[in-house]
């Protein structure tokens, strides 16, 4: 339930934020603010474009969403709260979450060897999902 999620991260529960979370629920592919805005409009939902941008931004900061750039725009999707990597379909934007011990090991080893204060990392795999590869 979106309401509880919002409370948990200390954001006010508004119709708009709830709508955004609902729209992203169980959606495997990532979407941009523009796409989401268009969906709302087509569905007859009244939401401002800047509100969609602001909602996605706060939800992302709160850790409720993943976000990454795709072809010049930022895209978002619901994600599990624990650290993970991605398997991203370059055709349909469908995303699968991956855990990857190997990657964590790599990061640890690099931070040991280099004079570098590691603050984060990202590791994603691109390709075509079974549906799009056909």
């Amino acid at each position: 339930m979106p309401v509880q999620l919002l409370r948990d991260v200390g954001l006010r529960v508004t119709r708009q934020r709830t709508a955004v979370l609902d729209a992203l629920a169980d959606r495997p592919e990532a979407v941009s603010a523009q796409e989401l805005y268009t969906e709302f409009r087509n569905a007859g939902d009244s939401i401002g474009l800047s509100t969609v941008y602001r909602a996605l931004e706060s939800l992302d900061e709160a850790g409720l969403l993943d976000s990454f750039p795709r072809e010049g725009e930022q895209v978002y999707r619901r994600c599990s709260p624990k650290h993970h990597h991605h398997l991203i379909c370059i055709d349909c934007s469908r995303v699968e979450e991956l855990e990857a011990t190997l990657v964590e090991d790599w990061v640890a080893s690099v931070s040991n060897v280099h004079d570098f204060e590691v603050t984060g990392h990202r590791a994603d795999i691109y390709g075509r999902c079974i549906a799009c590869a056909a």
Copy 2:
């Protein structure tokens, strides 16, 4: 020598493309088209902004440059032709190239386990370089 590089990838050798390659030579940090354009102007070099965009795009496609998004804009840097990953300073944009067998192993294992036609991957580590961490 930029001239040879351009020939090798089948691009015409122009003053502008050569200038872009020169400007990127041995520069450890990544730069955007806008930044490069400003540098040229300040140096008295006459180059159009769209030309900088187009030069970076073709050089990137030719595999002579790495590129990744940074705060809403695309940034570029010279890179070695072989596959590698990055250690990126979030303060000064300095980039170090990494080879990572562990990452390659991970990608291979994922492509074996999932119904997914892998076309590429990317793995980068973010943090502060020794100079910026001070």
